[in-house]
């Protein structure tokens, strides 16, 4: 009887999910309520978690409730600590939730909401969640080893090298593009710039408060910091309305880029406790609160989405970024569906906290579902905007025209009506001078979020406050990724160069800190500078590059996972990781090929360089040509790296399947757990 009831419930969930998905897919020419997306997502995640992740756990990974995890075996109260599964889930989610699932889906909304939603759901259930879950479990079974260590041990030395290069490249490109998003959100915005500038003294104050006055009281300090940030947002309004004060905080994109480069260098070289750690706590506090608030806002207000399910830009002529749905929608959405970066977290701190092997399913698979839900919310935030407004914000001046009249005429001619007066009044309503040419996704997301919130709390009178709250949230979030990433990149360079000359490997030796900080900041600063000087807005070339690098890292993770599955003689279950891997290879190779060789100068780097070569020679065109060729070279290197690790992996798999190579498993030996009797 109980079983029949369960079957009935799951049958109902499946029917509801299919109905919601069909409603989303088949509606044409009429607006749709965002709750259909939420319903489709929740049902899909429920079915994916209940059935697919259970299948992977039981048949492919054979989770063992009797086996002790490294948290138990190596417990030391420091790195290895058996922790409650909900606490690990929260910790893991806080670590994997980054700006990617907020920005990527907003940019991909240029195709309409349908392609993004379908890929976020399918990609997460069959790809991203599986990758996070499998890598987490394999790391748990190897005493919490990192992805690079596992790649080296399970595939070969080349695998380890490729993983290292992939991680460093993705960090450099990510930081460049992340900084560009902040620059585009803050340029000519005294309110936003003031608020974000204030977060630096607030973080310094938090650092001193935490270390000197209330040692260890992080939550209390974060609440204090949050209150100060809210005051900074309120103060920003005064700054924006006061011409003499506004002048001090009104910057052009190149000036902001220089300021952010200096900030990145300082954050990398200053003591962690003073700036980086308190900013990290503040950012996490704001991030978790805002994501929860956005989820509640969408459910409570059930906003209507004005963006059509599919737009004319599925043909590849989109103004936000050029290229067809395949492969560019997948490269653009990246983290919301599958993110290589998560494999670093799943093989970092999290495996050292897992108390029981069976809990890796909830933590690995479940937390990625939550991350994917954030991507769905970002899609909703972008699509509640009128399409004309969305395109006016996200289209670079080089595509739609430099003046407001030219831009609105171009966008209206695409069938998305928008007026210069309407955009001006909207900009005024949110306390900005203009909303045109705000590429990067952050301002469109902020406007969508402000639109959702202002409908319930305070109305249009406080829309400006909500908009700047959202901008602050994203910029704070992104700058935290930037300062932490710069430091990590510095450590990686020190580690590598330390093999050539030992003193440079010492992380506390100041000359080494200065040299390696300069190298890493110079690397991402180059991409940032390239982006701000790009007539097409920078996002058009840099975000796909970031997406390719991210998906390359996922390819490395899935190669490691497939190798281990094949080594454990479960070849028939290898498609669980092999199919997402094949898909990612198809996506990264096709995207890389287009980005290098496509004849359309808006897509292909080399074609763009050829167009520029035909123009009269100047310093500016020479620089742009160099940038295009460099981007093409970086893309080619990433593609070659994928090919190398793939060839090494395939040779290993063939060798094992044909019996020519022995399957050496590097798992830690079985030790029975003392937590075996626990339920769940």
């Amino acid at each position: 009887m109980k079983n029949a009831f369960k079957i009935l419930i799951w049958f109902f969930v499946v029917v509801l999910g299919v109905f919601a998905l069909l409603t989303i897919a088949l509606r044409r020419g009429e607006e749709i309520n965002a709750m259909w997306l939420v319903l489709a997502a929740v049902c899909t995640y429920a079915v994916g978690y209940r059935f697919y992740s259970k299948f992977v756990a039981a048949k492919v990974l054979v989770l063992d409730s009797q086996r002790a995890t490294p948290a138990e075996r190596l417990e030391n109260g420091r790195d290895f600590v058996p922790t409650n599964k909900w606490v690990v889930f929260g910790h893991h989610f806080a670590a994997i939730a980054g700006p990617g699932p907020l920005v990527g889906p907003v940019l991909a909304a240029q195709f309409g909401y349908l392609p993004g939603i379908i890929w976020i759901l399918i990609g997460a259930i069959l790809g991203g969640c599986v990758q996070d879950f499998v890598i987490l479990l394999f790391s748990v079974r190897r005493d919490g080893k990192s992805l690079t260590q596992m790649a080296r041990e399970e595939i070969g030395r080349l695998g380890g090298f490729v993983a290292y290069v992939a991680i460093l490249s993705i960090i450099v490109i990510l930081l460049g593009v992340a900084a560009l998003i902040v620059v585009n959100a803050l340029k000519a915005s005294p309110w936003g710039t003031f608020t974000i500038a204030m977060t630096i003294p607030i973080a310094l104050l938090m650092g001193v408060y935490l270390r000197r006055l209330r040692p260890g009281k992080v939550l209390e300090t974060s609440v204090l910091g949050f209150v100060l940030v809210l005051l900074a947002i309120w103060g920003g309004q005064w700054v924006s309305q006061n011409p003499s004060a506004a002048r001090w905080f009104t910057f052009t994109a190149p000036t902001l880029a220089v300021v952010i480069i200096i900030y990145g260098f300082a954050a990398s070289a200053l003591p962690v406790w003073l700036l980086l750690a308190p900013r990290d706590y503040l950012s996490t506090f704001v991030k978790l609160g805002t994501i929860a608030m956005l989820a509640l806002g969408i459910i409570a207000l059930r906003p209507v989405m004005h963006m059509p399910s599919l737009t004319r830009f599925v043909d590849g002529s989109g103004p936000v970024f050029a290229g067809k749905i395949f492969p560019f929608a997948f490269i653009t959405i990246a983290c919301g569906a599958i993110s290589g970066f998560h494999a670093l977290i799943s093989s970092g701190t999290t495996p050292k906290l897992i108390r029981r092997e069976v809990e890796t399913r909830m933590v690995g698979y479940g937390a990625m579902m939550a991350e994917s839900m954030v991507a769905i919310m970002a899609t909703i935030a972008a699509c509640v905007l009128q399409p004309g407004i969305y395109f006016a914000i996200n289209s670079p001046a080089g595509v739609v025209g430099k003046t407001a009249d030219a831009a609105t005429a171009t966008i209206t001619s695409w069938g998305f009506p928008v007026t210069a007066a309407g955009m001006q009044s909207l900009a005024k309503m949110v306390g900005e001078q203009t909303l045109f040419n705000r590429t990067g996704g952050a301002p469109a997301f902020a406007l969508g979020m402000a639109h959702i919130f202002s409908n319930s709390l305070g109305g249009q009178a406080v829309m400006a406050i909500w908009y700047h709250f959202a901008i602050m949230f994203e910029a704070l979030f992104i700058l935290t990724v930037l300062d932490a990433g710069t430091r990590v990149g510095r450590f990686m360079i020190q580690d590598a160069l330390g093999n050539l000359w030992e003193p440079i490997g010492r992380t506390s030796w100041y000359p080494s800190i200065l040299v390696t900080s300069t190298l890493i900041v110079g690397a991402w600063g180059f991409f940032l500078w390239q982006g701000v000087r790009d007539p097409l807005g920078g996002i058009n070339s840099l975000w796909p590059l970031f997406g390719i690098a991210n998906q390359l890292l996922a390819t490395v993770a899935l190669c490691v996972a497939t190798s281990i599955i094949i080594k454990t003689r479960k070849v028939r279950f290898a498609p669980v990781t092999l199919l997402p891997l094949v898909w990612l290879i198809a996506v990264t190779f096709t995207a890389s090929w287009h980005k290098i060789f496509d004849l359309n100068p808006r897509i292909g780097f080399l074609a763009h360089a050829r167009v520029l070569s035909a123009l009269p020679t100047s310093y500016e065109t020479s620089r742009l040509i160099f940038n295009d060729r460099l981007d093409a070279a970086v893309t080619a290197i990433l593609m070659i790296l994928v090919a190398l690790i793939l060839v090494e992996s395939v040779l290993l798999w063939i060798g094992i399947v044909t019996g020519k190579r022995t399957a050496n498993i590097k798992e830690a030996p079985f030790v029975p757990t003392r937590f075996a009797e626990e339920q769940g």
């Binding site: 939730a97 980054g98 935490l210 270390r211 040692p215 983290c335 990590v488 450590f491």
Partner: protein
Amino acid sequence: MTKLRHIMNTLAAVLREVFDESAYARFLARTQAVRSRESYAAFLREIECRKHSTPKCC
């Protein structure tokens, strides 16, 4: 009511873990130290390499 209290306790535990308060409590227990500026500075030194050598996710 008990269920709600349990949920709130779990949420508080999650926040304490995310914000390193639990890690500091474990550090104090492990080193038999008391909450002070010196012990917190030692804790920060210990977690610096571990925590800040992992990239923030994108």
